[in-house]
Symmetry: C2
Subunit: 214 residues, 2 copies
DNA sequence: ATTTTTATTATACGCTTGTGCAATGGGCGG
DNA sequence: CCGCCCATTGCACAAGCGTATAATAAAAAT
C-alpha cells in the first residue's frame, strides 16, 4: 500500500518543530486539547515520532515550558544588560513586560496553561523557580544601577525587597491587562506601572514617565 | 448480590459535597487528575451521581471555580465594607490577601489549576471577570475613603487607576509568595506590599506600616 | 403497612489517550 | 549506483475517560 512521503530533518530542527507545535496547540486548545496527535499533526509528522525525540509527552511539555519561559524572559535580560542610562533601561524593562509580545493573548494563554502544573509537578516548579530568580536578579541589577546613578545608597536587603515588590507589580499588572484584554490598553497599563515604580523607588516625578504622562 | 448501603442527602448538601470534593481533587492532583471517579470517591459516592446534580463534568468544574473565587474574595469584600478608619481597613485588606488562607499552598494550587481555562473557555472567563471587577471596586472604595479621611481630593479616573495598580501589586506578590513559598515568609511579603502601597498613594511613612516596620 | 418516588448504585459503552513496535523508505557513505 | 542506517510511518493495544441507563433501595407519602 502507499505510504505517505516524508522528509528527514536534523535532530535540532525536528525538536524545535515539535516544541513550537506543542506551544501552538497549548495556546489554542489548552493543555487538555494539546494531545500527541494534535501536536504531531501541527508539526506535520505522525504521533509516533514524538517518542523518538522525547522520553514521553511529559518531557516534551517540560521542554516547551522551558522554551516559553526563556522567550518571555529574554527581552528583559537583554535590556537589563544594555549600556545606557539606568532609569531609561528600567523604563524600557517595564514597558517590554507590559506590551506585546509579552503582554498578548497567546503568551498569557500559554503561561496560564502551564502554571497549573507548578504546584503538582516538581520539574515544572523547578523551571519556574529558575526563571523567576533570574528575572528578579536582572530587575534588582537595574534598580541598583539607578540608585548608583542618582548617588543614593541602597543595601542588598533593601534592593532585593524592592525588586520583589516591583516584580510583583509587573507580574500582576501583566496578568490583569492580558487576561482581560478588552478593558485596558497597553499604554494605560504601562503608564500606571511606570508611575507606581517611580513612587516605590522615590524617584522624582517624570524620571520614568517623562513622555508618557497623561 | 450485595449492593453498597448508602444514605440520601438533601440536594444542597450533596451539591456542596461534590463541589468540595472537586476542589480537593483539583488542589491535590491538578485538573488532569481530577477525574469523575476520583471526585466521586472523595465525596463518598459513585461516579454516576455527578450527572444527577450537574449537566456534566464541565458544569461541575465551573461551579467549583465559582465557589473558589467567592471564598477567595469574601474576606476582602467584608473588610472593605467594615466601619472604622479607612487606612486601617486598607492595611487589613492587603494583609488578608497576603496571608493564609488566601496565600497558601492549597489556594494557589486551585487558582493556578483553573486559570488555564480562562483563555480557552468563555464561561470561565466570565466568572473571572465578574470577581475581578468586584474586587477592584472594593479596593477602589477603600482608596477613596482613605483620601477623604485625609482631606485629599481624587477624581474617579485617578482612583480607578490606583486601584488597578495596587490590585496588580497585591496579585503579583500573592502569586510570587505563594508559588515559591519557601523563599519568603508572610510577614516580609506583607510588609513590602504595605510599604509599596504607602508610596503609591503618597501616604506619610507609617500610615499603613506603623507596627510591622523593619 | 403499603405504595410511590427518586436518589443512588452498578455496569456497560464508545471514544480518546499515550505508548510500543514492526515495517518502510529517505538520504548518506562507499 | 548500491547498500546500509535510522528517522519516520502506520497500526495495534491497554488503560482511562465522561456518559448513558437499568436496577435498586432509602425515605417520603398515603
Amino acid at each position: 500500500m502507499s505510504r505517505r512521503t516524508y522528509q528527514r530533518a536534523p535532530e535540532a530542527v525536528r525538536r524545535d518543530d515539535l516544541i513550537t507545535a506543542t506551544l501552538d496547540c497549548v495556546a489554542e486548545f489548552g493543555i487538555a486539547g494539546a494531545t500527541v496527535r494534535q501536536i504531531a499533526a501541527r508539526a506535520g509528522v505522525t504521533g509516533g515520532l514524538i517518542r523518538h525525540y522525547f522520553d514521553g509527552k511529559d518531557q516534551m511539555m517540560q521542554a516547551a515550558y522551558r522554551q516559553l519561559m526563556s522567550e518571555m524572559c529574554a527581552p528583559s535580560h537583554a535590556i537589563a544588560r544594555e549600556e545606557g542610562k539606568a532609569p531609561d533601561c528600567l523604563r524600557r524593562f517595564i514597558l517590554a513586560n507590559l506590551s506585546p509580545p509579552i503582554a498578548d493573548a497567546r503568551t498569557i494563554s500559554l503561561w496560564a496553561a502551564f502554571i497549573g502544573h507548578i504546584p503538582i509537578n516538581p520539574e515544572f516548579a523547578s523551571i519556574h523557580r529558575e526563571h523567576y530568580l533570574a528575572f528578579l536578579t536582572s530587575l534588582e541589577l537595574l534598580i541598583v544601577r539607578c540608585f548608583e546613578e542618582f548617588g543614593r545608597t541602597i543595601d542588598p536587603t533593601h534592593s532585593r525587597r524592592l525588586a520583589v515588590a516591583i516584580n510583583g507589580l509587573i507580574d500582576g499588572m501583566w496578568l490583569e491587562g492580558s487576561l482581560i484584554d478588552d478593558m485596558f490598553d497597553t499604554d494605560e497599563i504601562a503608564g500606571m506601572a511606570l508611575r507606581s515604580v517611580e513612587h516605590m523607588l522615590e524617584f522624582a516625578p517624570g524620571t520614568l514617565t517623562a513622555i508618557a504622562d497623561s
